[in-house]
């Protein structure tokens, strides 16, 4: 057996097949992007340990993740906040972790998406379990996992086929196999959910241009929101979520920390649904009154309205820039935050 010959043939096949695979997926519109995974999140969470009183941390769900642009923030305020928000997540587990497991006493900007903030404190429910998994990963990550993440970054940035994306846009072998359906023995009622953002190393997220130009694409995401709203999910647990948050808030305030609440824009069917299930007066207003911290609802500021929300929930990249700037102007005017120049 000539193993040298075998290994050469093997390597040749592997390299050729991988080049073809990469070209194929690039032709299908995929690009090399980072994965918004637990490892990327943990790198940002680790930075919280070293922050000063002047620094800001963002927690919440996808709206604050899309709508607050870190570059705009840095340009205006002189320093970049830490982005810890993540899609489909309640902000409470991450807020709880920072309050109880770090010495940070700067400012935490909490994004309040009513359907998620007031959803639950049940550990196994998705809005809680997802962010908690990130928190747990951060606390338990090994040095080996940190190295793996470090080594994977250049690969993620170079190859489109290296992707952890799940669902309809997933292109690793496991995800590709999941898309094969033989008959309807088991029906997944959820419409296909496309990825419509790209993320950077600092976890800044921007909406893809396609969402602005391709109405059919935007409609696929709207269908998913409608699906979630039509489901017979549990009602919001206002009392438990609010109490949980307020307990941590008092602890954070006591050590000199500052909290700002932000309700980002939503639109259309989704906003109507939110107004019905989590009416402002009995959810947001009550939270603001009990929390007694600076709070900003987009409905109260004309400059935060009339922005483009192609799928009812998140701002386009350009409008996220505008939103960030306008929101920061309001904070500066209210002297809730000071720019680094004024410090």
């Amino acid at each position: 057996m000539n193993l040298k010959q075998s290994v050469l043939i093997g390597l040749l096949i592997t390299v050729t097949a991988l080049i073809a695979w990469e070209i194929y997926w690039r032709n299908q519109g995929f690009t090399a992007t980072l994965d918004d995974n637990e490892a990327l999140w943990a790198v940002q969470r680790a930075k919280v340990e070293k922050l000063s009183k002047e620094d800001v941390v963002l927690v919440g769900s996808s709206r604050i993740h899309f709508d607050i642009q870190l570059d705009q923030w840095e340009k205006k305020m002189g320093n970049k906040p830490i982005q810890l928000a993540a899609g489909g997540c309640s902000p409470l587990p991450v807020f709880h972790d920072i309050v109880n497991n770090s010495n940070f006493n700067g400012t935490i900007l909490v994004g309040v998406t009513p359907g998620l903030f007031f959803s639950t404190t049940f550990p196994k429910a998705q809005p809680w379990a997802w962010p908690q998994a990130r928190v747990d990963y951060f606390h338990n990550r090994t040095y080996a996992q940190q190295l793996n993440h470090l080594f994977s970054l250049p690969l993620q940035n170079s190859f489109a086929f290296i992707s952890e994306v799940e669902g309809v846009d997933g292109i690793n072998l496991k995800e590709l196999l999941k898309k094969i359906h033989v008959n309807n023995r088991v029906i997944d009622p959820m419409p296909p959910f496309h990825t419509f953002e790209e993320i950077r190393l600092d976890r800044n997220v921007r909406m893809l241009k396609r969402m602005e130009t391709d109405t059919a694409f935007a409609n696929t995401v709207k269908k998913v929101w409608k699906f979630f709203m039509s489901g017979e999910g549990p009602p919001p647990d206002k009392v438990a979520t609010m109490n949980f948050f307020l307990t941590d808030l008092e602890k954070f305030k006591a050590r000199g920390g500052k909290v700002i609440l932000l309700r980002c824009p939503s639109d259309g069917y989704l906003r109507d649904f939110e107004n019905t299930v989590t009416p402002r007066a009995t959810f947001w207003d009550e939270l603001v009154q009990k929390a007694n911290v600076p709070a900003y609802h987009f409905e109260d500021y004309s400059q935060l309205q009339n922005l483009t929300i192609p799928e009812w929930s998140h701002l386009t990249a350009n409008d996220a820039d505008i939103f960030t700037n306008e929101f920061l102007d309001i904070l500066i005017k209210d002297q809730v935050l000071l720019t680094s120049n004024s410090n």
């Binding site: 057996m1 000539n2 193993l3 040298k4 010959q5 075998s6 290994v7 050469l8 043939i9 093997g10 390597l11 040749l12 096949i13 592997t14 097949a17 991988l18 695979w21 995974n37 090994t142 040095y143 080996a144 996992q145 190295l147 793996n148 080594f151 994977s152 690969l155 086929f161 290296i162 992707s163 952890e164 690793n172 072998l173 496991k174 196999l177 999941k178 094969i180 359906h181 033989v182 008959n183 023995r185 088991v186």
Partner: protein, 471 residues
């Protein structure tokens, strides 16, 4: 550190570069391997390297004393010290919470109100493997079956050798330490064969276990519902494949990596799903553990030298403890008990019925064995007895109208893959991978190699941990 991770690829390249660079003497190379092994382990949780050091020092000292001590009482005491330290670690770190839970449950059952605070103990990765390996040295020294390691470096490397540190094979002292005495260097063919084994191992783990089978097994066993019979069987078959590919994959990687360094490790699996009967199964599945249990537990308990009853008792005790070795839960004990019962029944039947095995009845008996093995996997995989009970009932077609949760394609995928696995094991049962791989022309092996590497690369995986690391 996991074999299926980028950090390991970088680690291995550095180790190989240093190992084959003409700058180090053999002693320096061994020191480098030892240091690398501690880094390999410490990158998971550095403080737990201290446990390895304690085990190493205690067993080195015990071995040294056992080599010169003639007083029987003192010899026993040195052996006892080694056993207490190693089993003490195992007992505290692996069974501490389990013992506390059962103690609490017992008190509550007899009416004593008691609630213990959970101890929150970390399970050191691979503790069951390295404690068993190092204990085998002192037991062999006590029984004068092996020679004392020549140097502390050789012994420390034997305990810590990174390819097999966290999930075996559990290697005996005489098989590994002596390989460290003379300079080892793989020939080109050995090295490339080692790379091929590493590729096969990663293919088994990343593609077959994690990509093709794990989801189905996880969905079925995590459903929390009474399932349709087809779904229950699909989930169990998927798990039977997953655990084989996961564990055999690890062993194949370990053997391949060691071979790249010119070190030979023993086989740990010999196509177990084609076993004819359960004695045969335990000669083919996790061979290094089953021979360990045979030599250090079953035979000391009496083995087959003290009558039939004692033999059956020894067999059951060995399998019960073997079950408990896998995990601190009663479901693992039941798994071991089932295997014990299978072995006892098989021996009873063998004394009454004599069958001449041929190709036709052989494959039927292998299929029967594999089917019965699947019932044991239910207890191995299920976290609670209620899940196991529902699964067994569904698999025996007792549950009417259970829920369907597995898509048709997944059913086809699992049944095709498991059928191929079974046929492959049957064809290969009396041969070896090397023999089979050496027959076809080099280009065929190259094509297979390339396809495996390509599938590993496009599966990627997010560095799923090997199942046996938790044991």
């Amino acid at each position: 550190m996991l074999f299926n991770s980028l950090s390991f690829i970088v680690f291995l390249l550095i180790v190989l570069a240093l190992y084959y660079a003409p700058i180090l003497t053999w002693v320096s190379k061994k020191r480098m391997l030892l240091l690398s092994s501690y880094i390999f382990y410490g990158l998971w949780n550095p403080p737990l390297v201290i446990l390895l050091w304690i085990s190493t020092i205690v067993d080195w000292v015990a071995g040294k004393k056992l080599a010169i001590e003639e007083n029987k009482q003192k010899r026993k005491l040195w052996l006892l010290l080694s056993m207490i330290v190693n089993l003490g670690f195992l007992g505290f770190f692996k069974y501490g919470n389990f013992l506390l839970e059962n103690f609490t449950a017992l008190l509550n059952t007899i009416g004593v109100e008691f609630q213990a605070r959970p101890m929150d103990i970390i399970l050191p990765m691979g503790i069951s493997f390295y404690t068993f390996q190092t204990m085998s040295y002192t037991i062999d020294m006590y029984q004068k079956r092996t020679e004392r390691a020549r140097t502390f470096l050789d012994f420390a490397l034997y305990v810590t050798f990174f390819p097999q540190l966290v999930a075996g094979p559990i290697v005996r002292a005489q098989d590994l330490i002596s390989q460290f005495y003379e300079e080892k260097k793989a020939t080109i063919n050995q090295f490339l064969w080692g790379v091929f084994l590493l590729t096969i191992g990663l293919f088994q783990k990343v593609v077959l276990a994690d990509t093709l089978l794990s989801n189905t097994a996880d969905d079925v066993y995590g459903a929390g519902k009474v399932l349709h019979s087809l779904d229950a069987w699909t989930g169990t078959l998927a798990f039977s494949g997953q655990i084989f590919f996961d564990f055999a994959g690890y062993s194949t990687c370990a053997i391949g990596i060691a071979l790249m360094l010119g070190i030979i490790l023993p086989d740990n699996f010999r196509y177990p799903y084609a076993s004819i009967g359960f004695s045969d199964l335990w000669r083919r599945w996790h061979i290094s553990l089953s021979t360990w249990l045979r030599d250090y537990l079953y035979i000391p308990l009496g083995g087959n030298k003290h009558g039939i009853i004692r033999m059956y008792v020894a067999l059951m005790v060995t399998m019960l403890l073997g079950g408990l070795w896998h995990g601190a839960a009663w479901t693992f004990v039941v798994w071991g008990a089932l295997h014990g019962i299978y072995l006892v029944v098989e021996r009873l039947l063998r004394s009454k019925i004599h069958i001449k095995i041929n190709a036709f009845n052989g494959i039927l008996l292998a299929f029967l064995t594999y089917t019965l093995v699947n019932f044991t996997w239910v207890f191995f995989r299920a976290r609670e007895f209620s899940t196991a009970k529902n699964m067994i009932a569904s698999m025996l077609f007792i549950n009417d109208g259970g829920e369907k949760i597995v898509p048709s394609f997944d059913i086809i995928k699992v049944f095709v893959l498991i059928t191929l696995l079974f046929i492959c094991h049957w064809i290969m049962r009396n041969t070896s991978m090397k023999d089979v791989s050496l027959k076809p022309p080099a280009w065929i092996l190259g094509v297979v190699w390339g396809i495996m590497l390509f599938l590993i690369a496009i599966s990627q995986g997010s560095g799923e941990q090997f199942i046996y690391f938790q044991f």
